[in-house]
Amino acid sequence: MSSLLNTSRPPVFCPGCTHDRITKELDKALVKMGIPADKTVIVTDIGCSGLFDTFFNVHALHGLHGRALTYASGLKLADPELNVIVTMGDGGLGIGGAHVLSSCRKNLDITLIILNNFNFGMTGGQYSATTPSDAIAGSEFLNQAEIPIDICEVAQSAGATWIGRYSGHDADLSDHFVTAMQHKGFSMVETLGMCTGRYTKRNKLNVAAIDAMIEEMPSKNGVVEKNQRPEYGERYRAIASEKTVYPEAVTVEQQVILENPKRDDIVILGSAGMRIVTAGDIVCFAGMVAGLNASMKNDYNITVLRGQSVSELILSPEKIGYAGLETPSIVLALSDEGVQRRKKIFPKLGPDTLVVKEASVTIPETAAEVVTVDYKALKIKRHDWALASLGFLAKRGRGITEEMLIPALKARFNEKVFGMAMETVNKTLKG
């Protein structure tokens, strides 16, 4: 095979454009490596560098500006056998900076070729992330107020394992591409070149000037020793292959037949750290032990270690529709914060509703049956109050019973935690 260039779609760059040379050097490199066309993909984005995918007889994916590395990563993860080459200009570099950083950190086996020609050629020579401050660019004076990025230095600190910076006119460019592509991991080649259609019309830049620039900048020519580590895909697959157990859905068998199954709407009013959601789970499991349908709707803050924690539960022999609670039949009032969150419900409650109130909690006036429990006196710690309340409900046969509760605890906890939970529950169940 002498060339992978697509003869029906020859390069269309401006005369003298470095991209033209880079196209040919990349082709030479692919030929030297002898990699199969059907196992190679060129991924590009927008701008003149985005034309690359059309010039080659390999798989091609052309996408949005700056996002080429995201498609490349998806392709490589889905098909590790693919040789994935990304071309990107200094425009894509700027707009897709987060993806460059991530690719350096991840170290997927992808080769990124940056075609840095110091400006946005296609849109009229506007300044880019690499335009020198003293250049004359198509964005009036804006580039004078900024400094250009050295992407190789950035890549090094972001963890890239292979970095090379070369002139687009480097005689050995195709060999550099080969070395970069042969590297197992993320390799980034920055090529510096001339945009003859825009940039060099107003700025003195030629092959010698590019060489001088490269001379002045920190040298980058291959493997970055301090960043060496396994390729991401291999590492990912090694770790993932240890996850052999597929977690089946949690199921609860019916074990109890209730004589008179009825609906209960239960709300637990507590605070973060009181294991309100766990208690809610157990109530629902208990319902399912008795063959009831269950639903649990929680209300807590994004900062999960502070603020209210409210769990609204429905146990019902019928299919559950609306999962909010209009008038609960059981209220567990375990913290002032939780009570404040739902204070509007209390005046609406009738004598059929049972409110179990911890001794230290204040509740608004209500017509409900209120029972006060002093958990502190029972030597139950605050984070167990919700759990202890379930023992209290089971003792009274409200919402749940002992024969529903114990299998629910068994289903929810491992043996050790189950034992501890039973100690707590027994204080209210048997007490």
Binding site: H59, T70, G74, L75, D79, V252, G324
Partner: protein, 371 residues
């Protein structure tokens, strides 16, 4: 009978696994995070790949790449993430890249309220792409639907080669429910049609069909592009070629309206009012209608599970027998505009609520009564 206890987000993840999903990329965002968390537990033991993108844009890009390599892919986010998905979404729509996107909606606009539900994005999902390409949006009302509709979503994505949305809601995604998974009959699985002919032209297709697929990395070279392309996958400016492909993108979805239409109804004899709703709201609607029935008032309900393409035929047919149509939405009126357009000759009332809380059955009964 053993009941499972799971939130809607877990049901989506399990539905995706049942549909043959083998790739997930996403970025954490409340209230969608647990879809990601579940996929991270479910995919590795099955040899699948689950990745956290560096942002939402990247997550969509990873999905696009993996889908083009032939995988069935899933991603999940909420409103603010859908905003960021937008440019990649346009790519996937215009370039016919199958994927399923779960939007666990929260109260907008903007960052809005992370832990408050609303059906915020119903029009946004439809029109959040450049070009106005039609989309498929399915909307679950409970955990069971999350499981089942996710399988439908994958089937549609594969058949029509497009992104398909599941418009979930915080109040479904993060609400746990007992569900009997064994009692659910899933549709037969559909896989994208692979090209088997001689010369592969990547976007060649009948006028109302999706093109046959071949993966990047297979024996035949494949071209994919986000730019306006002809059947060969190269950029074109030929108006005839452009218009044919634009019309095909539209027709392949709209021509399949009947097949994509999913719904539930509860027709009650002698009712003169039909309440149309979707998503979590339809549960309260059904409760309200059942309560009214006990009081001797008959009101029918229609719960839409497909919002886009608009099930126009279904709406017309189901509305025919009723004097009054009432639309209830967990926003200030998004989908009602479509229903009003389709049922232009009907007396139509609307109630919308967007305050971070569920619409209660009591409120719906009040709206039904206040004709």
């Amino acid at each position: 009978m053993a009941l499972s206890f799971m939130e809607g987000n877990e049901a989506v993840a399990r539905g995706a696994m049942a549909a043959g999903c083998s790739f997930f990329a996403g970025y954490p965002i409340t209230p969608a995070t647990t879809v990601f968390a579940n996929m991270l537990k479910l995919l590795p033991p099955k040899g699948g790949v689950c990745i956290q993108g560096e942002d939402e844009i990247a997550s969509m890009g990873y999905c696009i790449g993996a889908s083009m390599a032939g995988k069935k892919v899933l991603t999940a986010t909420s409103g603010p993430g859908i905003s960021l998905y937008s440019e990649q979404l346009s790519f996937a729509l215009g370039s016919e890249i199958p994927m399923v996107i779960v939007d666990v909606q929260r109260l907008g606009p903007s960052t809005g309220s992370a832990t408050r539900g609303a059906d915020s994005d119903i029009q946004f999902l439809r029109w959040g792409n450049t070009g106005g390409v039609p989309v498929i949006v399915l909307v679950p009302k409970d955990a069971k639907d999350c499981y089942e509709l996710t399988v439908h979503a994958f089937n549609y994505a594969e058949e029509f080669r497009c992104p398909v949305f599941i418009a979930s809601n915080k109040e479904i995604g993060m609400t746990k429910e007992s569900v009997d998974l064994d009692a659910i009959t899933l549709p037969p699985l559909v896989d994208r049609k692979l090209f088997t002919g001689e010369t592969y032209v990547p976007f060649e297709a009948d006028a109302d069909k999706a093109p046959d697929f071949l993966p990047i990395g297979g024996k035949t070279l494949v071209r994919q592009t986000s730019s306006t392309h002809g059947p060969d996958g190269y950029i074109t400016i030929d108006p005839e070629v452009i218009s044919a492909s634009q019309e095909r993108l539209q027709n392949k979805i709209l021509a399949a309206e009947d097949r994509i239409t999913l719904f539930e109804e509860n027709h009650r004899e002698n009712a003169d009012t039909l309440v149309i709703s979707y998503g979590v709201t339809s549960r309260a609607v059904e409760d309200a209608c059942a309560s009214l029935e006990k009081k001797g008032t008959q009101v029918s309900s229609l719960s839409l599970k497909t919002l886009w393409p608009v099930p126009e035929k279904l709406l017309k047919e189901k509305a025919k027998a009723y004097k009054r149509i009432l639309v209830i939405e967990m926003n200030l009126g998004q989908y009602v505009n479509e229903i009003r357009r389709v049922l232009a000759d009907k007396k139509l009332d609307f109630y919308g609520q967007m305050d971070g809380t569920l619409i209660a059955p009591g409120k719906i009964m009040e709206v039904i009564d206040n004709e």
